[in-house]
């Protein structure tokens, strides 16, 4: 078990000794059962840190945000940041290090092992409750949760409301950490890699398209999937066109003809381009933290697109994102024996 007291003490010590400028962790939110991310800069505030199955967020995102903010600042604070990281989150840190987005000394990873469990999927829970919201979810032994709705408590097996990514997780302990809380677990009992994507693949081409057309049509283009993803750090996304330079000489025709890969309109065609391009940009980089799927307000199974590519990368190229900071990235490397039979 992760000792939250020890974790708090560790965070307070890091701040006290001035080793980090802030600790990014989880605290109890006011918005429902899930925790909320917090940035703590005072040792006393570490008392609010928590660790429970509602700590779903991938906090590596805030390392990216800080790096960007410092790069834009005239007086950057270059002290390192500490981050509470689960197995998946630590893989995200590893990919960011692999891509030289920041340096190892810029980050202190406070690893937490998910051990036998994982985090709760609020949508699965809501689906069980037909949209109603639970007020609290707690671990209840290794394979179950205690769910509180109003005044009633019930016990739900972990396999029913654990996030898919946790059920399929192959590395529940942080691969990369400076300090680890909880027991390091190599392989978990529940691990069923690629279950969801294999189930989706089993459908026929027509069924697959019918399902994805339905999903792409529902996309609101709120871009929460992109905003929450630690790997989506491009200064400008291809679906926006904010860097088109306009001068006094720019004609109306130039403006009208500027490259716009994607229109603002939501709809199946535009949204398919956005989601498929995004999936390709994450090929070999997605660490399966499942955040894109979790935040989607209309519940599009976005994780499937990424795990499909993750599965191909694993099976065809023996590549796993975030496994090793020193490995060459999936798409900037190749082998002679890469599949060639699909090429005419």
């Amino acid at each position: 078990m992760v000792s939250i007291e020890e974790l708090r003490a560790c965070a307070a010590k890091l701040l006290d000794e001035g080793k980090v400028k802030a600790v990014i962790g989880y605290r109890r939110g006011s918005a429902g059962l899930l925790a909320e991310p917090c940035v703590i800069d005072q040792p006393a505030d570490t008392e609010s840190l928590i660790w429970d199955p509602g700590c779903v967020h991938n906090l590596a995102l805030y390392l990216v945000k800080d790096k960007k903010a410092q790069a834009a600042s005239k007086t950057p604070d270059k002290r390192p940041l500490a981050v509470v990281a689960k197995g998946c989150d630590s893989r995200a840190v590893a990919v960011l290090l692999q891509e030289n987005f920041f340096k190892r000394e810029d980050v202190v990873v406070i690893g937490v092992s998910c051990e036998g469990t994982g985090v709760v999927d609020a949508r699965k829970l809501a689906a069980k409750l037909k949209g109603r919201t639970a007020s609290q979810v707690e671990f209840d032994g290794a394979d179950g949760f205690k769910v509180t709705i109003g005044n009633t408590e019930s016990r739900v097996p972990a396999s029913e409301i654990l996030a898919d990514r946790c059920l399929e997780c192959r590395a529940p302990s942080p691969v990369l950490n400076d300090v680890l809380f909880g027991t390091a677990v190599e392989q978990r009992e529940l691990a069923m890699p690629f279950t969801a994507v294999k189930a989706a693949e089993a459908a026929s081409e027509e069924e697959r398209w019918a399902s994805w057309e339905h999903h792409f049509d529902r996309c609101l283009r709120c871009f929460a999937c992109r905003s929450v993803c630690p790997m989506c750090y491009c200064p400008e996304c291809v679906v926006d066109s904010t860097s088109f330079v306009i001068t006094a000489e720019t004609s109306a025709e130039d403006k009208a003809n500027r490259v716009r890969w994607c229109e603002r309109s939501a709809g199946s065609g535009e949204s398919a381009l956005y989601h498929l391009t995004r999936a390709m940009h994450l090929a070999g980089r997605c660490v399966d933290c499942g955040e894109c799927e979790r935040v989607c307000p209309v519940n599009i199974p976005l994780r499937l697109l990424n795990t499909k590519l993750e599965m191909e990368a694993f099976e065809m190229f023996e590549y796993q994102a975030g496994r090793d900071v020193s490995q060459a990235s999936l798409l900037s490397s190749f082998r002679d024996e890469d599949p060639n039979s699909f090429v005419r």
Binding site: S30, G32, H57, K130, A224, V228, E291, P297, V298
Partner: protein, 344 residues
């Protein structure tokens, strides 16, 4: 007009509404949303609240203003595309969403009467359903002058009495569809009315989240425009568009020309939802962005709802539906923000 509708007679009422497009909440993909229903079916109306609000029935995410075409050397031709939808009835509208519509109406009729909005709005009949209890822990309608049984903005208010509904015609448009289905209704007796009052009182008595000093908030926002608290509260904001796209009163939009073909030049001028949380919302052509960070964007969202709208229209642009709290990926909580701003 007050009537009683036995739940078995619901289908009979709908059958009488020939020529109308009918919508009711449906639970699909683990979320509640409005779905088309056929006359003769019986909607269950056991929903919480839809993720997407009713605003899109008058203000869809994509609206074509006109089509254009120009052959080389010829004069451009424009084709008007003001919509002419069938009269539409939406069942199960929660009172918070009902109260949102008059606020949207103010915006689209204040200076200019928006023909696209009103072409749809004038065909819309909103059949509300009083809440028996808050459908989410983040409901705060009563803090903003609403109620679980508020009639404002609704054409009909229905109250669930177990095996039957109490149906109250609020506007002429609402009474019209009740008259059309008059065979399905029974007269409401004094005992029924008493029961309705009891239900409403019980629903009002259930605790909701509250907003402190609502009257002082506008001034507090004005005073604290440059306060560091905005930055502080937006520290974990990821800058996605969930809060505004799902909001029943957010109405900002963008207008683009979507060129379909270069030669002959043809395309559409399109209005799409836009979002003050996106970086390109205020981006100038020079590249300067006056709202350059998430703190400024959070301030804008709150100021628009609780200061500028109050100045311009005499009411808050928020009805306490709680969507922006429940769906926020990182737990940014508008009630907490308001309390923080109004605390000296």
């Amino acid at each position: 007009m007050e009537k009683i509708l036995c739940k078995e007679s619901f289908a009979g009422w709908l059958a009488a509404l020939k020529g109308y497009d009918l919508y009711a909440p449906a639970f699909a993909d683990a979320v509640w949303n409005h779905a088309r229903i056929e006359a003769g079916t019986t909607p269950e109306l056991d929903h919480t609240n839809t993720v997407r609000s009713v605003k899109e029935f008058a203000f869809p995410q994509r609206e074509v203003f006109f089509r254009f075409e120009q052959t080389k050397g010829g004069a451009p031709t424009l084709t008007a595309t003001v919509p002419d939808p069938a009269p539409t009835v939406i069942f199960g509208v929660r009172p918070c969403d009902g109260r949102a519509m008059p606020r949207n109406d103010k915006v689209f009729a204040a200076e200019f009467k928006d023909p696209y909005y009103w072409a749809r709005r004038d065909k819309l009949t909103l059949v509300g359903l009083a809440c028996a209890e808050p459908h989410s822990p983040n409901c705060f309608c009563q803090a903003l002058g609403g109620a679980p049984d508020a009639e404002e903005g609704l054409d009909i208010l229905m109250t669930d009495l177990g095996d039957r509904y109490h149906v109250k015609g609020v506007t002429g448009r609402g009474i019209e569809i009740m008259v059309r289905g008059s065979d399905a209704f029974d007269e409401a007796r004094a005992a029924d009315k008493k029961q309705v009052q009891e239900r409403h009182a019980a629903a009002r008595a259930v605790g909701q989240r509250g907003v402190n000093d609502l009257g002082k908030i506008a001034e507090a926002i004005r005073q604290r425009f440059d306060d560091a608290l905005w930055q502080d509260m937006a520290r974990t904001c990821i800058g996605c568009g969930i809060c505004t796209f799902l909001c029943p009163t957010c109405h900002c939009f963008d207008i683009n020309d979507e060129v379909i073909c270069q030669s002959p030049c043809s395309g559409e001028r399109v209005r799409t939802w836009d979002n003050c949380q996106f970086a390109d919302f205020t981006m100038h052509t020079s590249g300067h962005n006056p709202r350059h960070d998430l703190g400024a964007r959070l301030r804008q969202r709150i100021s628009h709802k609780f200061l500028y709208f109050v100045d311009n229209h005499g009411t808050q642009q928020c009805t306490g539906c709680g969507r922006c709290i429940s769906e926020c990926p990182v737990g940014i909580d508008i009630v907490r923000v308001l309390d923080t701003v109004s605390q000296p």
